[in-house]
């Protein structure tokens, strides 16, 4: 079972730039947590702080309850897959995967056995790939080697920094699925950094959403979606109509969040508006309709059969129970 990871009030300062501003986070042993956020939100910095590649200016880092803040990366028992993979170009596949074992002075026959095991885990045929040079491999194969190299040391905590950002979408989806299976099979604690919310929900039991060096909200995907803490969460984690509450008569301060799938056109709605359709887009299993009303553009996801076209003046609305109000 994987070890827990905890950060307490961690700050990282680069000169005058504050990359992390007092972040606290608890990841349970064996959990899969995704660090999500736009670029520059500090998610990679946070991951590197856990790995020990960055020493925090303030705060503590605990792995399995042990304070590791001052420990160098090689003594933390974590493993990591890097965004640019960082395979060793001077070594073949076998030696790349074997690297961590060699450092640990594992006997030769044990190394051979474990490397084969790790390559099989990531579905690379050892007999075909062991002696290949890493630059002869395709992008997806390189990802697998990087994953095998990180897994072969049987880490308690596996860190992944946007590992699949350089491969095609379908290969990415397959790799994500396999990673999920490996996670449940091997039981390590998984912390995964991405800026892509679709990737995040694939892999994460919980999602930690970051912005500008701060932790904004941590929770299950459905919590972030249904109960966003603020406008930023509502906008970043899914599509949303965000309207000042004053415009809807819901009070002076704050914003109303209405998900586009809750907006109906001409049907049963407890709150109704009139507007003109300005755009209709076909999106496979629904239509995305944009309606202008009182200077606002509302997005609605409706049935493919809904009879709307650009220029129509329509009545639309939603059930007031579907409105979620955030303060900022």
């Amino acid at each position: 079972m994987g070890l827990s990871v905890e950060l307490k009030d961690v700050s990282v300062q680069y000169g005058s730039f504050q990359a992390l501003k007092g972040v606290s986070l608890f990841v349970e042993g064996g959990e899969g947590l995704v660090l999500l956020g736009p670029s520059g939100s500090g998610k990679s910095t946070l991951l590197r702080t856990i790995a020990g590649l960055i020493t925090p200016t303030r705060g503590r880092v605990y792995i399995g309850g042990r304070d590791v803040t001052e420990l160098p990366p090689d003594r933390r028992g974590v493993s990591m897959v890097f965004q640019d993979l960082a395979l060793f170009p001077h070594l073949d596949v076998f030696e790349n995967v074997a690297f961590g074992l060699r450092i640990r002075k594992v006997p030769d026959d044990e190394v051979r056995r474990k490397v084969r095991w790790a390559l099989e885990l990531v579905r690379l045929d050892p007999d075909l790939f062991l002696k290949r040079r890493v630059h002869e491999l395709s992008g997806g194969q390189q990802q697998r080697v990087a994953l095998a190299r990180a897994l072969v040391v049987e880490p308690e905590v596996l860190l992944l920094d946007e590992p699949f950002s350089h491969v095609d979408l379908d290969i990415k989806n397959r790799l994500l699925e396999e990673l999920k299976i490996l996670h449940s099979k091997l039981g390590f604690t998984l912390i995964y950094v991405t800026h892509d919310r679709f990737e995040a929900v694939e892999i994460g039991d919980r999602i930690a959403l970051m912005k500008e060096g701060e932790m904004v909200q941590v929770g299950k995907p459905i919590e972030l979606y249904k109960k966003p803490k603020n406008r930023f969460v509502a906008e970043f984690f899914g599509e949303a109509n965000i309207v000042p509450t004053s415009a809807l008569g819901l009070g002076e301060k704050g914003y109303a969040v209405i998900r586009p799938e809750d907006v109906v056109i001409g049907g049963n709605a407890t709150y109704k508006l009139k507007g003109q359709v300005v755009d209709v887009t076909f999106l496979w299993h629904y239509l995305k309709v944009e309606i202008q009303s009182n200077g606002h553009i509302y997005k609605a996801y409706v049935d493919l059969e809904t009879p709307v076209s650009v220029g129509d003046v329509v009545e639309f609305g939603w059930d007031v129970r579907d409105v979620y109000v955030v303060e900022e």
């Binding site: 790995a51 020990g52 590649l53 160098p72 990366p73 090689d74 974590v78 493993s79 990591m80 890097f82 640019d84 993979l85 960082a86 395979l87 060793f88 170009p89 001077h90 690297f99 961590g100 060699r102 450092i103 640990r104 630059h135 190299r149 990180a150 040391v153 860190l159």
Partner: protein, 243 residues
């Protein structure tokens, strides 16, 4: 118009630089008694060049590593600037320093192989820094970080990842310096006081003392061919290096 001027200039390079080598060919075909350098002279030359290259690289590697990782422009400029100082001036400066050292410590450097090595290392050190710097600077940080996360200590990460990855740079620097050093004339002459006798000195004497164009031509051509070959190897290694 400019194209024509450039072509004329290029023709001038070929004419002034490469065509004179035909004169060597002419003298070689003329025949005569070929006086080849003695084995001991060859041995001295190669040993000097080997030792010079090895010491220069060993001294330069840590400095180049520092420059590539943390160095500032001033430090870089200061280490490279001696490239622009002429060899003879450097040799002469060292000669003066040697005489002071000899007076104070009693260690004789002038006229010894050690003195010549000091001079040649002094001269070629900036080339080692430049070449190694280029190799180390290209190195991405992440393979080292990956090694650290996989359990390697700082020293292990350096020995198993960074050093092997910069090896082509070391090879390039070695070939470059070895080559320059094999043809060296000034340092052995000034600091070795003609007592440390190298192929360069020999070619020099063949021309100035013996007026033996045949032997001088043969040796020069060999030296030139060796250098072109080595340059080709260097260029190849550096290219294959950028994966």
């Amino acid at each position: 118009m400019i194209k024509k001027v450039a072509l004329v200039a290029f023709a001038a390079v070929v004419l002034l630089f490469y065509v004179p080598f035909l004169a060597l060919g002419y003298y070689m075909s003329g025949g005569g008694v070929l006086k080849l350098p003695s084995m001991s002279m060859l041995a001295t030359t190669f040993m000097l060049a080997l030792v010079t290259a090895a010491i220069a690289i060993a001294l330069a590697y840590p400095a180049a590593y520092y420059l590539a990782k943390r160095g500032n422009e001033l430090e870089f400029a200061l280490l490279i600037a001696p490239l622009w100082v002429g060899t003879l001036l450097k040799a002469y400066s060292l000669l003066v320093v040697f005489s002071v050292v000899e007076r104070i410590t009693g260690i004789v450097l002038w006229g010894t192989a050690l003195g010549v090595v000091v001079g040649m290392v002094y001269e070629y050190f900036p080339y080692a820094v430049l070449t190694l710097y280029a190799a180390i600077e290209k190195l991405s940080e992440t393979p080292t970080q990956a090694a650290r996360v996989l359990g390697a200590s700082r020293a292990q990460a350096f020995l198993r990842v960074e050093l092997p990855l910069t090896m082509p740079g070391v090879v390039a620097a070695f070939i470059l310096i070895f080559l320059f050093a094999v043809g060296e004339v000034i340092m052995p002459a000034v600091l070795g006081a003609w007592k440390v006798y190298t192929v360069g000195s020999y070619i020099w004497d063949l021309y100035f003392k013996a007026r033996d164009f045949l032997s001088g031509s043969v040796l020069s051509m060999l030296l030139a061919a060796l250098s072109l070959l080595a340059t080709y190897v260097v260029v190849k290694t550096i290219r294959s290096f950028s994966i």
